[in-house]
Amino acid sequence: MNKTFATAMLLGSTVALAACGQKAPEDIPPPPASTVPEAPATTPTTPAGPSVGSQAHFEQSINGQNVIYFDTDRFNIDSADAAALQAQAQYLAQYSSVSITLEGHADERGTREYNLALGERRANAAKNYLVSLGVAAGRIQTVSHGKERPVALGSNEQAWAQNRRAVSVVIN
């Protein structure tokens, strides 16, 4: 159920990025903010676009599919996750000097220590999938933030679905 929502949201943000005319359902919240501290270099002052190997370049090249979402307490890679990870793997194959950190997160509806372990399990599930697609394991680090770093701030199913995630971040 939550998965359906997450998938819809993922598709929604992809659609928005592709500037397609299709209208998104009204209850879809804005896509999660990037966890990268520096702002993407897609400002009018840099018409050349983000530089190769930057987080902004990575996200732009894979249509924003640098975040995958999980069901409550789950860490399996479903078809939407697989599509996003395939896009990430293609990027990493094209830019072989790029390494990433996979950040695993959980929603707030879990105990703190368990959620740290759960975030680690999610990050590793994503990492293992990328490795199965041919990305060298040494190019992927993992870190769990448990429930410590939510992107959606509410206490409801929609927010929790956005927070159960693994985020791929380019290591600079």
């Binding site: 707030e108 105990t111 372990a117 999610r122 769990s144 410590e148 701030l153 509410g154």
Partner: protein, 468 residues
């Protein structure tokens, strides 16, 4: 050019510097408190007292008068700006607040009572207290010694019997004067209820500030009544899940100081810390064995988390669990023979017990919902845990899993920690939507739930044992 060289040197020294870069100033270690004879009286304490209180509902209603502690000579002391006489009244106020805040007895403090003189401490003016209908009477004194230390005596009298129930005295460094009030509170509490003491103890916890998506989490410590509060880390790195060592000299906690979750052992006296296990993997959920000789930690390898044990002095780690899934936490029985821990090997978080060597693992929670963060009572008779069944509540059960009792009804109450005597449980409560957190405590009976005062939001309480 000089700047460049300096930067290079800093980088070269980074392994240790990185571990210490989030640390604040070390906390001054407490001084030694020596139990002494109560010098104000030349008489021996009378043996063979017959007064006992065993029924809880009876003692809850006892009125306890706590007038200011007297002093033989009002002398200046570093413990108070106003000398030993004022200090005596402050000590009585702390005892009154201790009893009142914990729902114990019906205490009446020094601001509502006549002040006894020094000679009356061992010879109470009975007519005064009988006429006020006070059932119990606490007297005490403060004496400033030549060497700067303080002697504090504490006496508990039964007004109806006109008899002394118990007395004790302590020699304390002036900086630790509040401990005399806690020790006297413990003396009163233990004598009247038959329970073990708990006031003279400290709490480590995580102080929280900032917005929900960027909380700043700092390691902090305080006395059991919230006094002597200190932040131990600066907040540049997230700190989580502290645990006091049984001797209060060290703290285990999780820090992101190097960017990854790792557990450290922090030396309170020196203010330095080191990794508990030199491993490239995330380490979580640190715990001490009851005698402080071992540390339990949980480590995630390839996403699979298991529980390990390592000697506190360092050395080889022993893996205690090896099932697929998340095995995490762990809390020793008071005798150190068994460990209760959390595992999702059955598909959801449940509580399990194993022998201290990892053998004999078996599930004990079969009451619907999930069982998380189990903590064995210091008395051994109960296990407190976070019960997840819709909302998160604090619950207790016997070590065999029977007789579940849910003690709290918050939206998200988690991470119970026991008072040193196993009669009170602290935990933290998260508020829906805002994500704000507070420390709470509740009796083992489910009564006397209250929020603990902390300077900022607070989570992950860890109550230490009675101070040595």
């Amino acid at each position: 050019m000089k700047k460049l060289i300096f930067a290079f040197v800093m980088l070269a020294a980074s392994p240790l510097a990185a571990q210490n870069q989030d640390l604040g100033l070390p906390a001054p270690e407490g001084g030694e408190v020596v139990t002494t004879g109560t010098e104000a009286s030349g008489e021996e304490a009378e043996g063979g007292l017959t007064f006992t209180v065993t029924d809880e509902s009876d003692w809850q209603n006892l009125t306890v008068a706590i007038p200011g502690f007297a002093t033989d000579r009002d002398v200046p002391t570093p413990a108070s700006t106003d000398g030993t006489a004022a200090l005596g009244r402050d000590i009585a106020r702390i005892i009154t607040a201790n009893l009142r805040n914990n729902g114990l007895f019906q205490p009446i403090g020094p601001d509502q009572l006549p002040q006894p003189g020094f000679a009356q401490i061992t010879e109470p003016a009975w007519s005064t207290w009988v006429s006020r209908s006070n059932e119990m009477l606490v007297h005490g004194y403060v004496r400033g010694r030549e060497d700067g230390r303080l002697v504090v005596g504490c006496y508990l009298y039964d007004v109806a019997l006109q008899d002394e129930l118990v007395r004790e005295g302590w020699v304390i460094p002036p900086a630790d004067w509040r401990r005399a009030a806690h020790k006297c509170s413990d003396l009163i509490y233990s004598r009247l209820t038959g329970e073990s003491p708990f006031f003279d103890s400290r709490i480590a916890y995580i102080a929280e500030t900032g917005p929900k998506n960027a909380r700043v989490k700092r390691l902090a410590i305080m006395d059991s009544d919230g006094a002597n509060h200190r932040f131990l880390t600066l907040g540049s790195a997230t700190a989580l899940t502290p645990r006091y060592s049984p001797d209060y000299k060290k703290l285990l906690y999780l820090s992101y100081v190097d960017g990854n979750p790792r557990i450290y052992v922090y030396d309170i006296g020196t203010g330095r810390q080191q990794l508990v296990a030199e491993t490239g993997n995330p380490t979580l959920a640190p715990r001490w064995s009851p005698d402080g000789s071992y540390i339990l930690y949980s480590m995630a390898v390839g996403g699979n988390t298991d529980i390990y044990r390592v000697p506190a002095t360092g050395g080889q780690s022993v893996r205690l669990t090896d099932t697929p899934g998340i095995d995490i936490g762990g809390s020793y029985s008071p005798d150190g023979s068994r460990i209760v821990f959390e595992s999702d090997r059955s598909g959801s978080q449940q509580c399990y017990v194993m022998n201290a060597d990892g053998s004999g693992q078996r599930r004990i929670s079969f009451h619907g919902g999930r069982c998380a963060t189990p903590e064995w009572s210091p008395r051994g008779d109960q296990i407190a845990f976070t019960r997840i069944a819709g909302d998160f509540n604090i619950a207790v059960m016997e070590p065999n899993g029977r007789n579940l009792r849910v003690l709290t009804r918050g939206w998200q109450d988690e991470a119970p920690t026991w008072a040193p005597n196993g009669r009170i449980i602290q935990f933290f409560r998260t508020t829906r939507n805002s994500g704000r957190t507070s420390l709470y405590q509740v009796d083992l009976t489910g009564r006397n739930e209250r929020k603990l005062p902390t300077p900022v939001d607070a989570s992950d309480p860890a109550w230490g044992p009675i101070l040595p």
